[in-house]
Amino acid sequence: MAEASTERGPVVIQSDSYNKAEDVLKEHCEEMWKEVKQLQAKLVKIRHQDHSPVTSNASPVLDIYLARQKRLIAQIAVMKGKNPSKLPDNEVIQFECVKEELEKSVGGLQDTLALVRSEQKEVDSEIEKEEHFKVEVEQVKTVLQEKLNEALRQQQAGDNAILIREMQRKELALKKHCKKIMRHMAEFVQKHFPEPNESQLAKWRKQHTPTADDSSLNNVEVLPLIRILQDLLNQCIDSPHNAYIDIDNRFWPPYVELLVRTGIALRNPHNTQQIRLTPFHL
């Protein structure tokens, strides 16, 4: 269009040429409206002849899709038969149409420019970020490789002496720690779960052994709770494959009950006279 205007001089649009253009457009519209009216009348007529049911009993989706297929075929036929429409042979209309089109396009391109700029920025920051990632990951890789090499070297060198010394040091520390917590436990148990005194024992015996003439029971010394715990712990560590200990008459039954009920000890399901420590360490 720019070329056209330089060749023919600037397009000066007079008001009467505008009026003329308007008339052309009006005429065009009238024609189209006539066509619309005709088509609509046709549609109404067709409808009066159409007696197919609206919906069948089942889900209407099949009906709908069939109707859609029909319509699509018709639309394709219309599209195929249609020639591209031309603008009317009026220069004013043509000029205005092209102008409008170009203005729309300029607006769109300005939006696009803004988008491109923001995309550019985003890409820049992404590159920066990725480069940063890369540096970090490479550092991690180098460090891990070094550590691996170091480990392999030590293994080959067979630096056993250092290793053993280190283990011994750890063992000592552990033993010390173990002693300490055992002491804590002993204090706690002694304070809160003392050995049953004679009257308690007598009372219990009276309740549970009605005959009360089993002299063997009377004279046996009752194990303190801490001893039971100690036995349980030792058995658990010394023979993990069979951690059960036998309950004999030195075990005061209420304490055994207590241990089982609180989940500290477990009864042997096959032998009620055996208990073991719950494997807290597994």
Partner: protein, 190 residues
């Protein structure tokens, strides 16, 4: 749901038709159908507010068929929106019944459903039955939070885009053409 022929004929009389009237110049008309209190008017307001064209009409109805008395003055309806309240099975049944009064031509892209998004404990309708209803009518479904104005505007904007196409205001495109992007309808393209 079998009906005898008499009933059938009366039904066809009340049917809503897409092309029985001439369009009004550059005018789009939407009809929103849903039970009382579901927020039809709020949605209609949101649609009119989101619209850039001044020639948009939103009409509402609790159910179909529309009363016969003013049918002459009623403009051609370009699109029907059904609203379903997920809390009430009555609203579902009403929509289901109203669908009987819609001409098949509307199902070629001039129908859409809106279901309300509600907290699970008040949800009375199963999500599956709602989506099934929409699928059975080959129409799309939007979920809308009835308590959120922002959500309403979002749905309103989508409806406007659909209305533009179904009212024929976008040259070269029809609702069916947009449907052709669906995977199931696109087996032998290219």
């Amino acid at each position: 749901m079998s009906r005898d022929l008499n009933q059938f004929e009366t039904l066809r009389k009340d049917e809503l038709l897409p092309f029985n009237k001439l369009p009004i110049f550059m005018q789009e008309v939407m009809l929103i159908v849903g039970i009382q209190g579901i927020g039809k008017h709020a949605l209609a307001k949101a649609i009119v507010e989101s619209s850039t064209s001044k020639t948009l009409q939103c009409r509402t109805a609790t159910h179909l068929p529309l009363p016969e008395e003013h049918s002459a003055e009623r403009p051609r309806i370009d699109m029907v929106v059904f609203m379903i309240d997920s809390r009430s099975s009555a609203s579902y049944i009403q929509v289901e019944q109203s669908l009987q009064y819609i001409n098949r031509q509307y199902f070629l892209g001039k129908i859409c459903f809106i279901a309300t998004k509600v907290p699970t404990e008040t949800q009375n309708l199963e999500v599956e039955s709602i989506t099934q209803l929409c699928d059975d009518h080959g129409s799309c479904l939007f979920w809308m939070d009835p308590t959120s104005g922002a959500d309403r505007t979002v749905v309103a904007k989508k409806l406007l885009e659909m209305l533009n196409i179904s009212a024929g205001l976008k040259p070269g495109i029809t609702p069916l053409l947009t449907d052709c992007t669906h995977r199931l309808l696109n087996m032998q393209s290219f």
